[in-house]
């Protein structure tokens, strides 16, 4: 799985951090997403897909190719 984030779109809702804190964080000075793990391990896949699905800014893209 490969994850990419779009910082310009990000609205700082924090859903990704609440759901998958091992993969996503937010910058302290403006709340914009930080991608901690662009190729998360299998144990994170369900959470990452959920985070991408509920992101209100559609700022997270998940590619399922290895």
């Amino acid at each position: 799985m490969k994850v990419t984030v779009d910082e310009d779109k990000c609205c700082g809702a924090g859903q990704c951090v609440l759901i998958a804190p091992e993969v996503f964080d937010q910058r302290e000075d403006d709340g914009v997403v930080i991608l901690l793990e662009p190729e998360p391990g299998a144990d994170q896949h369900v959470l990452v897909r959920e985070a991408a699905a509920v992101c209100p800014a559609a700022a997270i893209e998940v590619s399922e190719e290895a």
Binding site: K9, C11, G12, A13, A53, P56
Partner: protein, 403 residues
């Protein structure tokens, strides 16, 4: 006469406290772009399908400029928070809006909210202790749902929680679309403005560690900060937003979970469901209030219908959240639903700034209630729960409980 031909009154009258009006399903099915008449008598266009509401809320052509001369007024008295001049001082779109959002948004990150959890938990436990001492049945709204978010937002803004009765009144005049006269609304807003102005002057003289002190410390627009008037309006907006919304949602969430007590028991057996259960009650909140109005500056098409420039659109997120084409078994409450991309906080660049705060408060309240009052139950039949009328943000008048 079908819904296609008649002009519905909006908000749609609803006798039940927790169930959706029958019209929602019919509108989604046969009349997704509906003409409605607002309490002011002005006409607007109501959207109820998930895809349409999501598209419009994320589309910058649908503005929040409800003070335009030809925009629909929500109520005869002007329309409270949505039509207010206040709404125009915080930038509506583009880079300016993003700049404002990021300056303020840093205070609402998931990490900051996680750091607030212990103090929120302590407040919730104290409030529950006090409610238990007063004896049962108790009103969960007055005893817990209302005070908790108020304490938290007052602390974030550095305003004294002792003034909370005044904030509640000022909030109510902004959010209640039908209860007050224009004169009452103007007087309340004048007092609120003066209060916040004095508060900011005090923070300038003696800064604290709160959000408003730090916004002041960034400097003016030339330093990458906000103009004084923007800081003032931001303070007012956060105080109002931090009041009615989560406060009412706590009462509705607990009522929805207790209405069928097998839900409560499932959470007692498996508290790891708290996070998804909170999201599911947000999705199924049939009493969420007015929805989000938008004003259209140019002709646009929604669901194959051309909307002329000057149209006022009302997005019903609550109706959209029950759209079968977006959610499997949409009418059912599934406490483990995942993912749950409901629209209760809006979507796109303007989605609720305080959503991580609201989620954290709701999760903390539920966690503490399950732990401290596992025998909690409604003290009246669900049919006797009553809605607050006229509020832009829906709520229940009281939530009588036993434990």
């Amino acid at each position: 006469m079908s819904l296609n031909e008649q002009v519905l009154s909006y908000p749609i009258p609803n006798d039940t406290a927790l169930e959706p009006p029958a019209e929602w399903a019919e509108l989604r099915g046969t009349c997704p772009v509906a003409h409605v008449k607002l309490p002011s008598g002005d006409q607007a266009t109501l959207l109820t399908r998930y895809a349409d509401v999501k598209q419009v809320l994320a589309d910058p052509r649908f503005t929040r400029q409800l003070n335009a001369p030809d925009a629909a007024r929500l109520s005869a008295e002007g329309g409270g928070v949505f039509n207010s001049e206040i709404a125009t001082i915080i930038p509506d779109g583009g880079e300016e809006h993003q700049h404002w959002r990021r300056l303020v948004g840093r205070w609402f990150t998931a990490k900051r909210m996680a750091a607030l959890r212990p103090s929120m938990t302590a407040i919730a436990e104290q409030l529950i202790d006090d409610m238990v001492k007063r004896g049962q049945p108790g009103d969960l709204k007055a005893g817990l749902g209302f005070p908790l978010p108020v304490y938290v937002i007052c602390d974030m803004l550095g305003v004294p929680a002792a003034d909370r009765d005044r904030f509640s009144y000022w909030s109510d005049t902004l959010l209640n679309l039908t209860r007050y006269t224009q004169a009452e609304i103007e007087a309340a807003q004048g007092e609120f403005f003066q209060y916040m102005s004095d508060h900011l002057a005090a923070k300038r003289a003696e800064p604290g560690e709160d959000l408003l002190s730090e916004l002041i410390a960034v400097g003016g627009p030339e330093d990458g900060g906000l103009a004084d008037i923007q800081i003032l309006v931001t303070g007012m907006a956060l105080l109002v937003a931090g009041h009615e919304t989560t406060a009412n949602m706590i009462g509705k969430m607990v009522s929805m979970l207790l209405a069928d007590r097998s839900r409560w028991e499932r959470l007692l057996a498996d508290p790891s469901l708290i996070r998804t259960a909170v999201e599911e009650t947000l999705r199924l909140d049939a009493n969420s209030g007015f929805g989000l109005p938008r004003y259209l500056r140019e002709e646009t098409e929604v669901s194959g219908t051309v909307l002329p420039r000057g149209t006022t659109v009302v997005c019903s997120m609550a109706a959209a959240n029950r759209d079968e084409s977006a959610f499997e078994a949409a009418a059912e409450m599934d406490l483990s639903r995942s993912p749950n991309p409901h629209l209760s906080f809006g979507t796109g660049a303007h989605s609720c700034l305080g959503q991580a705060l609201a989620r954290t408060e709701l999760q903390v309240v539920l966690e503490v209630l399950l732990r401290r009052l596992p025998a909690l139950e409604l003290a009246v039949p669900v049919e006797e729960l009553e809605r607050v009328e006229g509020l832009a943000v829906g709520g229940l008048r009281t939530v009588p409980v036993r434990w």
